[in-house]
Symmetry: C2
Subunit: 168 residues, 2 copies
Amino acid sequence: MSEDERAVARERVIESMEQSAEVYGLSRSAGRIYGVLYFFEEPLSIPELVDETGYAKSTISNVTRTLTRVGLIRRRSSKGGGRRVQYTAEREVWFILQDVFQQYVQREIQTTLRTIQRAQAQLPDDSEPEAERIEELRDTYEDLQEILSLVSEFTAAELRDALESYDR
Amino acid sequence: MSEDERAVARERVIESMEQSAEVYGLSRSAGRIYGVLYFFEEPLSIPELVDETGYAKSTISNVTRTLTRVGLIRRRSSKGGGRRVQYTAEREVWFILQDVFQQYVQREIQTTLRTIQRAQAQLPDDSEPEAERIEELRDTYEDLQEILSLVSEFTAAELRDALESYDR
DNA sequence: CAGTTTATTCGGCTTACTCCGAACAAACAA
DNA sequence: TTGTTTGTTCGGAGTAAGCCGAATAAACTG
């Protein structure tokens, strides 16, 4: 009974991860591969992931690359057992989120902010309504940038605490 | 010179919005339509948006629907001037973000959390390592849920202040 | 060395998305 | 009523993405 039940529970959670992956702009296969790695104690090689997931070798190769780039899994080249590369899941979800925010959202905000600033600099102060609109945008984006850079230094528990204890 | 310069500045910012739209999973057209509405004082009808953007009527119709659903623009039926529906941009970016988090991210987290809880309930306590893994997941997701629901009550300035003044 | 195992790259198939134009529907104007 | 304006829906063309299998490359084993 034990192994069976565990497999069912695992499968449910992994399916949920597939779905989440789609919501956040990754492929279903990425969700599954991450999920399988999430539950495995030991690092897995590509052939092992092929066995576990049923995906083609090439798919595993491509998806592991993007998962590594995004920071969801880690690659370790273990020359040891003859197998060459192995992957483990980054299980600290909070770290993953911080990474994503830092890598993508912050970056996105920064380039937008630069565009806004350039547009603003080149625009006479009195040109309504554009000047006002752009000014508003800049303020918001500067707030966002500051918030994100602050959040990147918090743990989840700290952030929660900071919000709960804040008195307006 | 004035109108010309303003048009250039507007165009730059709108192009940047097109790009952001893509990053966040919307189409380029969605970014442009939002951008055009963002800078216009008065609400615009679909034919006017066709003129301003160059997109086909059907495209405007479809994209405005999704933009409305997401909360980026608002639809008002003005029976007044013969034109039937008109759109305005929601310019408070912070509200938009809160909306998105509430509608999509919170929802996503909630369904995931439910799945995790079900899997956990149905799993004997001593079934390592699954039980531990699922327990970790649940904790993180509960933190996330709490953080998001707290953030939804903050303004951007308040959030910034809360983070800046928090002392560990 | 040849043979085996592993990882990446390439071309192709299928599916999904974006956008368009045409057809249709609904409200108004004469 | 007929004609006009506006909005939605539908089918299709072009394009991008996911995944596969085969070919290739690179490292180890005998």
